[in-house]
């Protein structure tokens, strides 16, 4: 591979899905990742809306990388919430299949200090894993700083506990940074063999707080990260999060996308700025 398969999460641009597609096309990405659109999450779309999504994506010459639900962003000890989230996952799998996508993301429950261990998380995720296995579908655990698997290291531990080929990693270096892990090379090292999708956003600590930044303007070594990702045949999605001083999210996405392209350009020319 000498190029990245790039996607942008549409709601980082606009809830107006068609406008977001237009911007994504102009930016030059090939894929759109779908999370929230038209004021709702993807799993809440009606049959007619799903058809409209397909038609719009086709008309802009783009492809759908994957869809994002919030499955298992709930408390582990709440059995009823777990059941509701299993239902959300079922919808996400059904919708993903209708988009010819073979995976969807899950989370690993809200972190509660001292209450559970990753082995408990794995046990609580078993019904989801069994569902995925039965459906011939893959779950990608997104490392999320508010959840039990927040870092690459913790994601590795969880994947080891789950022991299923149906569970992989959605690697989010920005979230790992917020969880105080050096995302690359340290965190990535733990999950690299299982990464099937990536969310890209940069970050740094500023004024005593974690802050999202455009790609290339934060403290994550994206040159190293992207060089490694170039070796994989997967889609990587810009999940901007950075909001510029104007508060214009579309502008923030454009700025961050440009930063990402700049990093890709440097990497593909072999002019690495940092030692590995």
């Amino acid at each position: 591979m000498d190029r990245l398969k790039l996607a942008v999460i549409s709601d980082e641009i606009s809830q107006d899905f068609e406008h977001a597609l237009k911007v994504i096309k102009e930016l030059g990405a090939e894929y759109v990742e779908i999370r929230n659109l038209w004021g709702k999450n993807a799993v809440e779309l009606s049959v007619e809306e799903v058809s409209r999504v397909k038609s719009l994506v086709r008309s802009y010459g783009l492809k759908i990388s994957n869809i994002d639900s919030s499955a298992f962003k709930c408390y582990l000890g709440d059995a009823q919430a777990r059941a509701v989230n299993l239902g959300i996952l079922k919808k996400a799998i059904e919708l993903s299949k209708s988009f010819d996508v073979g995976f969807t993301r899950i989370f690993s429950f809200w972190w509660q200090a001292g209450k559970y261990k990753l082995a408990d998380v794995a046990e609580a995720l078993k019904p989801a894993v069994e569902l995925a296995e039965a459906e011939g579908f893959t779950l990608a655990v997104e490392n999320e700083y508010g959840c039990y698997a927040a870092t690459g290291f913790e994601t590795r531990q969880l994947l080891n506990s789950l022991q299923s080929k149906a569970v992989k990693s959605l690697w989010d270096p920005g979230n790992a940074f917020f969880a105080r892990e050096n995302p690359w090379p340290d965190g990535y090292h733990f999950v690299k063999d299982d990464v099937i999708h990536v969310h890209l956003k940069d970050a740094r600590v500023e004024n005593d707080a974690f802050k999202w930044m455009p790609i290339g303007k934060g403290d994550i070594d994206f040159e190293g990260q992207i060089k490694d990702l170039l070796a994989k045949d997967i889609v990587v999605s810009l999940e901007t999060h950075y909001v510029p001083p104007s508060h214009d999210r579309e502008e923030g996405t454009k700025e961050s996308f440009a930063g990402m392209l700049e990093v890709v350009k440097k990497v593909t020319k072999g002019r690495r700025r940092f030692q590995q």
């Binding site: 809830q15 909001v243 508060h247 214009d248 999210r249």
Partner: protein, 255 residues
Amino acid sequence: MKLAFSSLAYPDLTLTDVVKRVSKMGYDALELRVADDGRHLRPSYPIREEDGVALRGVEVSDLAAYARFSDNPVENESSMKLIETLADIASALRALGVRVYAGNASDFDALAEALNSAAELAGSHSVKVMVETHGPLLDKVSNLARLLPKLRGVWILYDPANVIFAGGKHEEVFPLIRDKLAHVHVKDYVLRDNNPLYCAPGQGVVPLTSIMDDLKSSGYNGYVSVEWEKMWHPELPDPDSVLPAYRVYLKRWIG
């Protein structure tokens, strides 16, 4: 239309007990107050596990929160941070939107820009920002008329009692906001020593019949939320008796 009441009616009850009253009183949804004092939810995400359990099974119309925007960049920056948290909460609770206030502002362009940015941020979570017709600025018809054309993606939370107390008229305001209406507060009052004394529906100076007729004929199908301000006026009658009276009164429009 759907019927909700604000948890402002029950400052002394736990969230669990407030939630129980939604179905007990024959209401469809709860307008959930979110404030630093924790009545009835703190602006913190994720919400606490016990709060999530308490809210299970109840429809949350919106978050009655206290983010305030003005022409002051410092205040707006802090409110934007709050909106990010509130949008996460609203999205998790599948609430329609988040109530915000407009504070003092002489620069309406700056105010509109701040509100528009908040709407964009909340919109990315599939949540609406709803600015309330509330003092010190937006209970005045002239200010609304100036601000509305500058807003993009910002919805209106219409509180006719606030407008009328500030000297405005429903028939002046409604045509301005009808296309941007996302939520409605209902309460009636009589004047007592130049202050509003809240009362049973139809007993005060708020033309509830005209308001509800206009909402219905305009095709409004959002929430009508009874805002019984027991929290600010402890002397008010018990909401357990008042809320059923409002429900009965509003039934002819809401069905």
